[in-house]
């Protein structure tokens, strides 16, 4: 068993004396079983929110953007806040599967499938907002580079909003093929276990005829590695470019050079929090505690703690640079954030993002499931407020005091946001019932090195 050696100091990543077959059974169980009452209740709530959101979107499109709370001073508010919030959440999936693959972090295998699913579903939510905000979403194809015979000019490649188009669409499609390629062997496992003809047909279709030849696996591993190598700079570039939407402008509070790393850290922070929120529930509902262990939750909490601290550093650096720059507009923008009419949003952000993750220094708290769940929700609220603070408080008091105003959302703003939350959970709940939620083929490769039963045998042998 020499080739399966792992340092005894490392905690097991698969518990419960699993065999290869048991892993297949555990991963296929939620797919093969039927949904319980709780699932239907949660799904019903999510679906209702989604339908409400669709109603609000239809109202927006048919009546106009005037149904939102925007005014001529605050031209960007909830929509862009929600867009950045969702894109940020969508960063953890690729980070877990790509960056942690490059760093050979084996604990990613228990959580990468769901994190990637979360990525794709949240980027879909993000993509909705710019399209609705266009006002005439049926002309959305004008953002692709098409010649000016259409009656207008080419798209402007100097614009960060166009960079966003390329970044988000590349990110969404590359994440999708990365996810699906990893799913092929797991779909094949469910296909080969399926008894019902319809189920067999569907999983044959989605597994693309995966057979598991030695050569296929060789290519599979190479493709995963190269995709990870490509996705790593991609994921960093996406939120960098999202931050350019603000950083390349001349609005005080927006045009700061710290934005790209600050946004990327914030994205990882909120993404990991969302992964924690979802997986803490899913491991319980789908009985996957042996694959998503306390060890996994603890490691995610450590990532949350570190990225939360980076975000905290960025907040303080921003304040310092605003003072140090000597530019009174810049200084006022930050003073206004902390003490102006939106002080409560600023301090909500500070409390949730900077102070709350610091509890994770205490081992007892970061290994507590209830505490982790609460903090993960708090962090996501905080990260929503961060975007709200950056966007609305920077805009509502600009260079011209006569146009200073406040922003308050209408029921449509709120309805669309709730609708995307509903849509996200509709997709995620459907995913949890139909997809192999653990990358079982990958987990099987680490069973002999990181499974508790194998580790125990080795420990006993070594005395």
């Amino acid at each position: 068993m020499g080739s399966h050696y792992e340092a005894p100091i490392r905690k097991p990543l698969v518990t419960g004396n699993k065999t290869y077959h048991q892993i297949s059974v555990d991963v296929a169980r939620p797919v093969e079983g039927s949904a319980n009452k709780q699932w239907w209740i949660v799904f019903g709530i999510a679906l209702a929110l989604f339908v409400w959101g669709i109603g609000c979107i239809i109202y927006t499109i048919s009546t106009g953007i005037g149904t939102w709370g925007l005014n001529k001073t605050v031209g960007w508010a909830w929509d862009i806040t929600n867009f950045v919030w969702w894109v940020g959440i969508g960063h953890a999936g690729t980070l877990i599967s790509a960056v942690l693959l490059l760093f050979r972090q084996k604990w990613r295998m228990g959580i990468n499938r769901s994190a990637e699913a979360m990525t794709i579903f949240s980027v879909i939510q993000a993509g909705l907002f710019p399209i609705i905000h266009m006002g005439r979403p049926w002309l959305a194809y004008w953002i692709v580079p098409i010649p000016n015979q259409f009656g207008s000019l080419w798209v402007n490649f100097n614009s960060p909003l166009l960079w966003d188009v390329f970044a988000i669409s590349t990110y969404l499609t590359v994440s999708l093929v990365f996810w699906w390629t990893g799913l092929l062997p797991d779909f094949a496992m469910i296909r080969d276990r399926a008894i019902k003809p319809f189920q067999k047909k569907i999983y044959s279709l989605v597994s693309f005829g995966w057979s598991g030849r030695a050569k296929d696996w060789q290519r599979f591993e190479e493709v995963s590695l190269v995709l990870a190598g490509l996705a790593t700079p991609l994921v960093l570039s996406v939120h960098t470019i999202v931050s350019f939407d603000f950083a390349t402008s001349v609005i005080p509070g927006w045009h700061t050079t710290i934005f790209p790393p600050y946004f990327v850290a914030g994205a990882i922070f909120s993404g990991f929090a969302m992964v924690n929120t979802l997986l803490i529930v899913m491991r319980k509902v789908c009985s996957l505690e042996d694959y998503i262990t306390i060890q996994h939750i603890e490691l995610m909490n450590i990532v949350i703690m570190i990225t939360g601290s980076i975000v905290g550093c960025a907040y303080i650096t921003e304040l310092f640079i605003a003072w140090y720059s000597g530019v009174e507009y810049e200084q006022y923008a930050f003073l206004n954030r902390a003490t102006g009419p939106y002080w409560w949003a600023y301090w909500a952000m500070m409390t949730c993002n900077v102070f709350s993750p610091q509890f994770m220094w205490i081992k007892r708290l970061r290994t507590s499931i209830v505490f982790s769940f609460v903090i993960s929700i708090v962090v996501n609220i905080g990260m929503w407020f961060e975007r709200f603070v950056i966007i609305v408080t920077s805009l509502h008091r600009d260079y011209l005091p006569s146009s200073w105003t406040m922003f308050s959302p209408t029921f449509v703003d709120i309805g669309i946001f709730l609708g995307t939350i509903g849509f996200f959970f509709v997709l995620f709940l459907l995913y949890a019932r139909t997809f192999p939620v653990i990358a079982q083929a990958e987990v099987k490769t680490i069973l002999k090195s990181s499974g508790d039963n194998y580790k125990k045998i080795r420990d006993n042998k070594n005395g």
Binding site: M1, S3, Y20, H21, S24, P145, N148, L153, W154, V155, F157, N158, P160, L162, W163, F166, A167, T170, T173, V174, V177, L184, P185, A188, M189, R191, D192, R193, S204, L205, V206, F208, G209, W210, S211, G212, R213, A214, K215, D216, W217, Q218, R219, F220, E221, E222, V223, L225, V226, L227, L230, A231, P233, L234, S237, I241, A441, E442, K444, T445
Partner: protein, 293 residues
């Protein structure tokens, strides 16, 4: 192309690696290995050439970079240059910093998608493609080595029997029958809870000129020990219902054969009971079943 294959099945990746090493040592050609997950070192043992997909991805990335550069140069510099706040909008080099994000994204887009498409085409993966793993368990926990048989069947079997195998079966490629039906049926009758001894029906791999083949009774003890005896029945395999261990009514003299089979099955369950109680040994078990035939 060989018409006949031996499928050696293993239930552990380390056993598989050892078996592949043994087969290689005995200079037996391995045509294919099916595994539920990537087994490390297997590609080297099978002398698979390293895949060139990474090189392809690099070339695709370069294509994307060139495409992005040419597209932006045409759109922003050649076709419709604009004076935007006096910026150097008439030279691609001087305006390049603003174009880096899109060119980068296109590089990644091309490299990732074209590489994955190449992978799917080379490994023949697409929707509506039928799976080709010979037994469904190879996506779960079994590892299967496919060995082409020329005139060396007994030698291959001898080598495999020395390894810690789980199942062996002989497959004929030219028959139109379902491959899964062809496999050694011993596993279909596994009742490990009842006893260590399993008794099941298997067909002899050789067919008579009329298409029928001998039905044999196979005795398996644990994982390693196995022997088979002729049941004395000659059956057309296409009418065999492996789930029920009987022939369908399309088979000539189906009633008579099914009667004989049900007698055999009774005696099999009796023998199993005797084995559990210690009244008969594994080696002698066949005598209890075939005593009168």
């Amino acid at each position: 192309m060989a018409e006949k294959f031996i499928h050696a099945v293993y239930d552990d990746d380390d056993k598989l690696i050892d078996a592949v090493k043994d087969l290689k040592k005995n200079k037996i050609t391995i045509e294919e290995v099916f595994t539920p997950f990537p087994v490390h070192g297997l590609d080297h043992l099978l002398d698979l050439k390293p895949t060139r997909l990474a090189i392809a991805a690099f070339i695709y990335g370069c294509t994307g970079l060139t495409f992005g550069l040419l597209m932006i140069n045409y759109i922003m510099i050649v076709d419709w240059p604009q004076n935007i706040g006096g910026k150097p909008s008439f030279s691609i080099i001087e305006n390049l910093p603003a174009f880096v994000p899109v060119i980068f994204e296109l590089t990644v887009f091309f490299a990732a998608h074209l590489m994955v498409i190449t992978f799917y085409l080379r490994s023949r993966l697409w929707p509506f493609k039928d799976a080709e793993n010979p037994i469904p368990e190879t996506t779960d926990d079994k590892f299967l080595i496919q060995i082409p048989v020329y005139d060396n069947e007994s030698k291959i079997k001898a080598v495999i029997k020395k390894t810690d195998f789980y199942d062996i079966s002989v497959i004929k490629e030219d028959s139109n029958e379902d491959i899964q039906e062809e496999r050694n049926n011993a596993q279909g009758n596994v009742q490990l809870l009842e006893s260590d001894l399993t008794i099941g029906f298997v067909f002899h791999s050789r067919k008579y000129s009329d298409g029928s083949s001998n039905l044999r009774i196979q005795f398996t003890k644990g994982r390693g020990l196995q022997y088979a005896k002729n049941s004395g029945l000659r059956i057309f395999r296409k009418y065999w219902i492996s789930k029920k261990n009987e022939v369908s009514n399309k088979h000539p003299e189906s009633k008579k054969i099914n009667n004989l089979l049900s007698n055999l099955k009774d005696r099999i369950s009796l023998t199993k009971k005797m084995f559990v109680e210690g009244n008969v040994s594994y080696e002698e078990a066949y005598k209890e079943i075939l005593i009168n035939d």
